[in-house]
């Protein structure tokens, strides 16, 4: 693999959930518990997992929208973990985000033009007529009429808003984008447009992307590699096709088997029993052992290390014989 564009090492994020009378944290949730990832330039890494597995938290940590409890983040070789506010501005130009909710991510009091122009103004990249021109070009790039410049978000449909959000993210010409469930809030008929737009941006602009989703089929289509997350830990990471067609971790196998297409292809559907464990009190050993159909006594004692199973394909599972 070439030198990574963005890399995270041993990322940990705790959220306090309870404080005692003295304001000390008495209980906390481990949203992310030691995750290491690297994304190469122009690579799309998918982040899969159930809700509550820490996918969005990782996206926000990578963009430094949240401060990690522990771990390091480096971007293009530079450590950005310790930077704050103005020190982060150059990094913010390079790394952008597209949120899941296109309604909430646009300020209702701002016009579409102002929303797209905001990152450019913040980064001091354009002003006056040039700014207007660039916003016009961006509207065109995401196939929105130029007349939308003075409209307000409430006049647009969900798909149009998401295109505004994408135009906004692209405005500063970033090299890395976190797309946090970019299509799950949209109608199925609109999803394809947005996916095509993302793909086009990637090929045309050479973007690297972290695609957060729970849609394995979509990720197989869009991503180079996929990382599967469970309870804030990476269970398996590998090339998208291999991972989806031949999962090596029991959890990935269960996730993949839940995709309707896979089920039709004659695969056995694995239904996980029980709920995702409480992240404030995760199980000992392998965190997945409470729901794993292949669990054996060792699984509740030993924390499995990430180990290679093929070139560029790693899993955190004690057993070699499954699935």
């Amino acid at each position: 693999m070439t030198a990574p564009l963005i890399a995270a090492e041993g990322l940990v994020k705790h959220f306090p959930v309870r404080q005692d009378v003295f304001g000390r944290v008495s209980a906390q949730v481990q949203a992310v518990a030691g995750v290491s990832l690297a994304i190469a330039p122009n690579e799309v890494l998918g982040l899969a997992g159930e809700s509550g597995s820490g996918k969005s938290t990782i996206g926000r940590l990578l963009l430094r929208l949240l401060d990690p409890t522990d771990g390091r983040i480096s971007f293009a070789g530079q450590d950005v973990t310790a930077l704050h506010d103005r020190g982060l501005r150059p990094f913010r130009r390079q790394a952008q985000i597209v949120f899941q909710d296109p309604i909430g991510s646009l300020d209702p009091t701002m016009t579409i033009g102002a929303a797209i122009a905001e990152p450019l103004r913040l980064q001091g990249m354009a002003n006056g007529p040039e700014l207007r021109e660039r916003v016009g070009a961006l509207l065109q790039a995401v196939a929105l009429p130029a007349g939308y410049y003075n409209r307000h978000p409430n006049e647009l449909s969900g798909g149009q808003r998401q295109r505004v959000v994408i135009a906004r993210a692209l405005s500063v010409d970033p090299s890395f984008i976190v797309a946090d469930e970019p299509v799950s809030a949209l109608d199925v008929s609109i999803q394809a447009q947005i996916i095509n737009l993302l793909e086009e941006m990637r090929t045309r602009r050479g973007l690297a992307m972290l695609l957060i989703s729970h849609d394995i089929a979509l990720m197989e289509h869009l991503c180079d590699r996929i990382a599967v997350l469970y309870l804030g830990r990476v269970m398996e990471i590998g090339p998208a096709r291999d991972l989806v067609r031949a999962p090596r971790h029991p959890y990935t196998e269960a996730l993949v088997s839940a995709v309707p297409e896979a089920a039709r292809a004659g695969r056995r559907r694995i239904i996980l029993r029980g709920d995702i464990p409480n992240p404030a009190n995760p199980p000992a050993g392998c965190v997945f052992h409470t729901r794993c159909p292949y669990a054996q006594p060792d699984c509740s004692r030993i924390v499995p290390e990430m180990r290679p199973v093929a070139s560029g394909h790693l899993k955190a599972c004690l057993r070699d014989d499954v699935p």
């Binding site: 103005r86 913010r92 949120f99 991510s105 300020d107 701002m110 905001e118 913040l122």
Partner: protein
């Protein structure tokens, strides 16, 4: 008609009457006459007061002071309250804790009593009353703005702005303020109503604008003594206070928060 429209009509009517008072009456508000305490008739619609002055003219002219005091006090309240509320709501944590305690302390003290005390010390003048009522009203504005800022701070579009490189200096004026503007406008109108009512109460208690300037609260106070001779002398300024306060109240409570 909506509450807001009703309020607006009342406010416009009062403002019009106060602004064009000299054109609407034949008498100057301080012009005395020989017919004192006359009951209402065709020449003096609300009769005359104890010094023979036309009550209608005094009620209309008195609206000027009330409106200036009301709007001025609400302005002062917003000038202090909006930044304080934004700061507390956006910063959160320790800043918010202290700001909230100060607000609650001020809200716990009854506004009228506080205003009475300060006015007694500083002496009544239009400027003093504006400043004092503004000072008494700012915590309500601040508390409201704080709550809204606290909510909007968590909005996704604020996080999106941060992801684009924005800091507090950008986010507060560009995102938080425009989104609390509606609430501020509503609270502004309510504060005007409160300030007019409270300033009239102060005048009624003898701490109003010094005579002979016409002043609603003071007129009600004097009118009370002659209620049986010319009832309109006390009732007309009371009604004027009522209509004005109602107008601003309707406007404020009808505006979407």
């Amino acid at each position: 008609m909506t509450r807001r429209a009703c309020g607006l009509v009342l406010i416009l009517a009062v403002t019009f009457a106060a602004l064009f008072a000299p054109l609407l009456t034949a008498y100057a508000p301080t012009q005395t006459g020989v017919f004192f305490l006359a009951p209402p008739d065709a020449a003096h619609w609300f009769g005359t007061d104890d010094l023979g002055r036309d009550v209608l003219s005094r009620v209309l002219h008195g609206g000027r002071a009330s409106l200036v005091i009301g709007v001025g006090a609400a302005f002062v309240a917003c000038v202090i309250g909006v930044p304080a509320g934004l700061l507390a709501g956006y910063c959160g944590g320790r800043v918010d804790l202290w700001a909230t305690q100060v607000m609650n302390l001020c809200i716990a003290l009854p506004g009228l009593v506080l205003a009475l005390l300060i006015t007694a010390v500083t002496g009544p003048s239009v400027l003093n009353i504006v400043l004092i009522l503004g000072f008494v009203s700012w915590p309500r504005v601040a508390r409201l703005v704080r709550g809204q800022a606290f909510l909007i701070r968590e909005a996704l579009f604020v996080e999106a702005a941060r992801a684009a490189g924005a800091d507090a200096v950008w986010i507060v004026p560009m995102h938080i303020l425009p989104n609390v503007a509606g609430v501020i406008a509503a609270q502004f109108a309510l504060t005007v109503a409160y300030a007019i009512f409270t300033s009239s109460s102060l005048s009624f208690l003898g701490l109003g604008i010094p005579p002979p300037s016409p002043d609603w609260g003071g007129m009600v106070r004097t009118g009370l003594d002659y209620l049986s001779i010319n009832p309109a002398m006390g009732l007309a300024p009371s009604a004027a206070v009522g209509i004005t306060v109602l107008g601003f109240y309707l406007l404020g409570s009808g505006t979407r928060g």
